[in-house]
């Protein structure tokens, strides 16, 4: 609306100016001296136009910025929902780094599209129509010139734009490939230095950049051509109009000798409007890359947005407090593209029983945990004592669970703060007690800052085994009756894995435990080991201690 008002002001401004100059010119032609009377009367209106347009433009920009910000804020919240609902399954959207790039940079890449391109799209239709109508009032031919060239512009834009879009897509890929090469080499700089291969690597950087420049120059030539076409038409139309109007005023047009088809005032009016006629088109052309960027971003975001945030609808309060029995009946989980993440599986776990799930990678061991955690939809039934998992209140159920992954992560804060993430109300005494239980206290008590020692990025300073034991301390603070452990020792060497497994055995007495593990080293305390073969058949073995 503001933009259209600005266009109207522009038409008015051009009209006033043409009136003024026509008055002066006629006066001059009649041998009189031009008088400033008309100027004085027109001055307020002209001032309104000249100052009003920037104001309207300002208002429009402000609104666009606000709209774009609102959209981006909402979109980010929308994207976070399916990610949070997927739990450990978030890895289907990429690494944490990739997810954050999507959420941050890719969403921000929509800015130009929302704040500029979106409005400009309408403007590009409305503005030329208004102007062509105004022009047609004075000269049909001039309006025809404008209108004939105008559709050519979008037509060429589409023709060239398609080529340019795919070309700029290619260039984008090239760029990221060159960036990747550079990044790859910089990451390995220590190794390259070791190998005395730095000079060769820096040559490789130079080569990659050189190749990128050559290839992208070829691409850019094409992309700029679309700009040149726009430029050409607008310049051509102005030149054509000027010549037609000028020669017409001289009365020497070949088809209308001795006539003046458009009087001076009309001619000037048309000429003043002509450059503005193409302005929105040209603006659209230069905002085109905003659209390309946004399209690329949307393609990246699509998989997350299309993921129907899965809803757990149960609302029954939990009917147990101690470790429950878990009965899994014909549980199967569908994966992406119709693949099956888990073939139908039935297991019965008694209250306080501790079992391991084993099987080749890809057989869906972790998916069973995901389903129990409430992070993935499933077919079949899961019974907790006499309650179906799908019927219970999810937060209440999740509060009963202790979960541990292959590598536990910690925030860059003190040990105490990390532990209190699990249980905000825990006292220092309680923290010391759980640290004692996981056999970390003798070590941590020697630290000058004790519990307030900062854990660095990714818990720098503690070994992998110590970090897993710290995670175990978090579980102990929660005092959850059910533990779901996903290969907690996968990244540890034999002796350390053994020690962690034994520790888990001592600390999980009385809890219902499902541990997914490759190796049974140190898991002699299990009641049952369940083998998941790739195809679905279930092999059941006795407890590990029974076998021994």
């Amino acid at each position: 609306m503001l933009a259209i008002a600005a266009v109207a002001l522009l038409v008015l401004q051009s009209y006033l100016l043409s009136l003024l100059f026509a008055d002066w010119l006629t006066a001059l032609a009649n041998g009189q001296s031009p008088t400033p009377t008309l100027l004085t009367s027109l001055l307020p209106a002209l001032a309104l136009c000249l100052l009003g347009r920037p104001l309207l433009h300002y208002g429009r920009e402000q609104l666009s910025v606000q709209a774009s910000q609102q959209v981006r804020l909402t979109l980010r919240q929308q994207l976070l929902q399916p990610i949070a609902a997927a739990g450990p399954g978030k890895s289907q959207y990429g690494t944490d780094g990739a997810i954050s790039t999507k959420l941050l940079e890719q969403v921000d890449a929509l800015d130009g599209f929302i704040s500029r391109y979106y409005v400009q799209r309408y403007l590009v239709l409305v503005t030329p129509v208004i102007m062509a109508l105004a022009t047609a009032y004075y000269s049909l031919l001039a309006a025809a010139i404008l209108l004939l060239t105008a559709p050519l512009v979008p037509m060429f834009m589409i023709l060239l734009g398609n080529a340019a879009a795919s070309a700029s897509q290619k260039q984008f890929t090239e760029l990221s490939r060159m960036g990747g090469r550079f990044l790859d080499l910089v990451r390995g700089i220590a190794t390259l230095r070791q190998l005395n291969a730095l000079d060769r690597a820096s040559n490789s950087v130079a080569h990659a950049a050189e190749r990128y420049r050559d290839s992208s120059m070829r691409v850019l030539k094409m992309a700029f051509l679309s700009g040149a076409v726009l430029e050409f038409f607008s310049a051509l139309a102005i030149a054509l109009l000027a010549l037609y109007l000028g020669l017409g005023l001289l009365g020497i047009l070949p088809w209308a000798k001795g006539e003046i088809p458009v009087p001076y005032q009309g001619a000037l009016f048309i000429l003043l409007l002509a450059p503005e006629f193409y302005a929105p088109l040209r603006q659209l052309g230069s905002d085109y890359h905003a659209k390309a960027l946004a399209e690329a971003a949307i393609t990246e975001l699509q998989p997350i947005l299309l993921q129907q945030a899965w809803q757990h609808n149960g609302n029954q309060p939990l009917s147990f407090a101690a470790a429950p029995a878990i009965h899994i009946n014909q549980l199967s989980i569908a994966g992406a593209e119709g693949r099956q993440r888990l073939a139908p599986l039935s297991i019965a776990i008694a209250a306080g029983e501790r079992i391991a799930l084993q099987g080749p990678s890809g057989c869906g061991k972790s998916s069973v945990l995901d389903a129990l955690l409430g992070f993935t939809p499933y077919q079949g039934e899961i019974w907790l004592n006499q309650q179906a998992l799908s019927e219970v209140n999810l937060p209440q159920w999740q509060a009963k669970l202790g979960y541990m992954a292959q590598q536990s992560r910690f925030i860059a804060a003190s040990i105490a703060e990390n532990l209190r993430l699990a249980m905000p109300a825990a006292t220092d005494e309680q923290l010391k007690q759980v640290l004692h239980q996981v056999e970390l206290w003798p070590l941590l008590s020697r630290l000058p800052l004790g519990l307030d020692t900062l854990l660095g990025e990714r818990g720098l300073g503690l070994s992998g085994g110590q970090l897993q034991r710290l995670a175990l301390a978090q579980l102990l603070l929660r005092d959850a009756p059910i533990w779901l452990l996903d290969e907690p020792a996968a990244h540890l060497d034999g002796a350390t894995a053994y020690r962690l497994h034994q520790l888990i055995g001592r600390l999980s007495l009385g809890k219902t435990v499902i541990i997914v593990s490759h190796q049974l080293h140190g898991l002699d305390w299990l009641d049952q080991v369940i083998q998941l073969p790739e195809g679905g058949n279930l092999l059941r073995q006795g407890g590990a201690n029974a076998r021994a």
Binding site: W24, P54, F224, G246, L421, Q474
Partner: protein, 540 residues
């Protein structure tokens, strides 16, 4: 390689002066064509109308202006096309220079290996930001100043009275963008910092997502991110507002300038000092200037962004590694450690008071549970970590020797590059023949694997070597290291993913290769080998 130097914005354009000058010249020509096309057209129809009113076109030379108009139309099109091409050619060249020079700088910096992947990602995008300076700051200002000067000259030639009124406003319009300069630069810096905070605030809860959801702390942990996000958006909004306000002010000034021009021009017309067509031309020139002056308002933000990028890039350049000099050690070798203690940065524990001696042909096997400091000890031996205690080679402290070509260290996470297998291996020995590559692959028990690959030696190792498993990757790096033929080898868990028998075989080959050198292997596997000493580290 030359000494590293901080990036200065003003030196960005010195390296490719020719290309930049051409781009600037073309840009200027284009703008002149834009301005002239409008002004000339206006003058032409006014003059034609005047001539037509007086005596229908007789004696009016319309050929020359008509030709000029066509020339300007073509000049504008061709000029803009050529200008874009040449400026981008120069900008891409600049990016190439920057990448190479930054790479060399980081190569010489001792701290480079501590940068996280995020830092490096930022480095790449920061380099990309630097081309904003010549493209969006220097070029628009040069064009704007030159064209404004031309315009003033034109007005002055027409009538002095025009100048008196309009000049101050025009100059003001030129100066207005500078008013926001310090704010824009400050906002850009704040934005960069907030963006980094925002990323951190998202990454942290994301890495503990599952547990945070179970503990019902996810929303609460996300608050910091939401806050940072809002803060960043506010900063962006303020920046946009700054631009919008400067544009508003500038255009109002230009509008006033146009009004004054008309006022003064009207007076000049009345006195017969000025012709109507020329006054119109003067006004149209001012019109065209809108397009040229508006980018100046955006240029301050571009300046702020490139300044912030420059600062971050200069920060990344750490202190230069000390140039190693001194004699190259020759065999037979004798490595002696006494009371050696080392720590990872921020680490609580690590190897404590370790002593051993090792002579040529011997193998030192370092054993122990994880967390006992095996890798730390090896890093200290490789000279990658500071240590306390004494460490000597052939009777001299390590610092006495130049060890670039003597010590080969295989870290626990060796870097494989996004190149083919052969290219990765040849980083160790550029001139190695294919049969040498196969031999060394055989030595590290990878020959069968490589033969199974459809592309054999030309197998791409994927981004960051992701296409191979951890153990394989480590052995590819080991093969690469073996190709460098270093007399002293320090290997961290080279047998990961191998069964005991194969590990034993590989260890035997390594021993044979290092008969006249030193070999230290860290492993948690127990191997039976001759001529070896075992050092067992225990967790404190």
């Amino acid at each position: 390689m030359h000494a590293p130097e901080p990036i200065r914005l003003r030196s960005l354009m010195t390296s490719r002066r020719g290309a930049w000058s051409l781009a600037l010249l073309l840009g200027f020509v284009t703008f002149v064509a834009v301005v002239t096309l409008l002004a000339l057209s206006g003058w032409f129809i006014s003059a034609a109308a005047l001539a037509g009113l007086v005596s229908l076109g007789v004696g009016f030379d319309y050929f020359r202006p008509a030709a000029m108009i066509r020339l300007c139309a073509i000049g504008r099109t061709a000029g803009r096309y050529a200008e874009r091409l040449s400026s981008h050619y120069a900008a891409l060249g600049l990016l190439k220079d920057l990448r190479v020079s930054r790479f060399q700088l980081m190569a010489q910096s001792k701290t480079a290996k501590h940068h996280s992947a995020d830092d490096l990602q930022r480095l790449v995008s920061d380099i990309d930001l630097l081309d904003l300076f010549p493209l969006k700051v220097v070029a628009p200002w040069l064009s704007a100043i030159l064209l404004s000067a031309l315009l003033l000259l034109f007005w002055a030639l027409l009538a002095n009275s025009l100048l008196l009124a309009a000049i101050p406003l025009l100059i003001a319009a030129l100066i207005v963008p500078l008013l926001g300069l310090s704010t824009a630069v400050k906002l850009s810096r704040q934005q960069a910092d907030t963006a980094a905070q925002r990323r951190q605030a998202l990454l942290e809860p994301l890495s503990l997502l599952a547990n945070l959801v179970l503990w019902q702390r996810w929303q609460q942990q996300l608050q910091r991110f939401n806050q940072a996000d809002r803060q960043l958006l506010t900063l962006q909004q303020r920046q946009q507002q700054l631009i919008n306000r400067t544009v508003l002010l500038q255009h109002c000034l230009l509008g006033l300038s146009a009004l004054l021009l008309l006022w003064q021009g009207g007076a000049a017309l009345a006195q017969g000092q000025l012709k109507v067509p020329l006054l119109l031309a003067a006004l149209l020139v001012l019109w065209a200037l809108y397009e040229i002056l508006t980018p100046l308002c955006h240029s301050v933000v571009a300046l702020g962004l490139s300044l912030a990028a420059r600062d971050r890039l200069n920060q990344l350049a750490g202190p230069t590694a000390a140039q190693t000099s001194g004699p190259v050690p020759t065999g037979p070798f004798k490595l002696a450690a006494s009371q050696l203690t080392a720590r990872q940065p921020n680490a609580i524990v690590g190897p404590h008071k370790i002593s051993f001696t090792l002579s040529s042909g011997q193998l030192l096997f370092i054993n122990g549970v994880s967390g006992a400091g095996k890798s730390t000890l090896l890093q200290a031996l490789a000279g990658e970590l500071p240590y306390r205690g004494e460490l000597s080679l052939n009777g001299w402290p390590l610092s006495h020797w130049q060890l670039n070509h003597s010590i080969g260290y295989l870290p626990q996470q060796p870097d494989l590059f996004d190149l083919t297998l052969a290219q990765n291996l040849r980083l160790g020995a550029p001139d190695a023949s294919d049969s040498e590559l196969w031999q060394v692959l055989d030595d590290v028990a990878l020959k069968t694997w490589a033969q199974q690959q459809p592309q054999q030696l030309d197998t791409l190792l994927g981004e960051y070597g992701a296409a191979v498993s951890g153990g394989q990757g480590r052995r590819i790096a080991l093969a690469r290291l073996l190709l460098t033929k270093r007399p002293i080898l320090l290997l961290d868990e080279p047998f990961a993913g191998l069964d005991n028998l194969t590990a034993q075989q590989v260890a035997k080959v390594l021993q044979q290769r290092q008969q006249s050198g030193l070999l230290i292997i860290v492993s948690h596997q127990q191997l039976q080998l001759n001529h070896s000493t075992t050092l067992t580290l225990s967790e404190q």
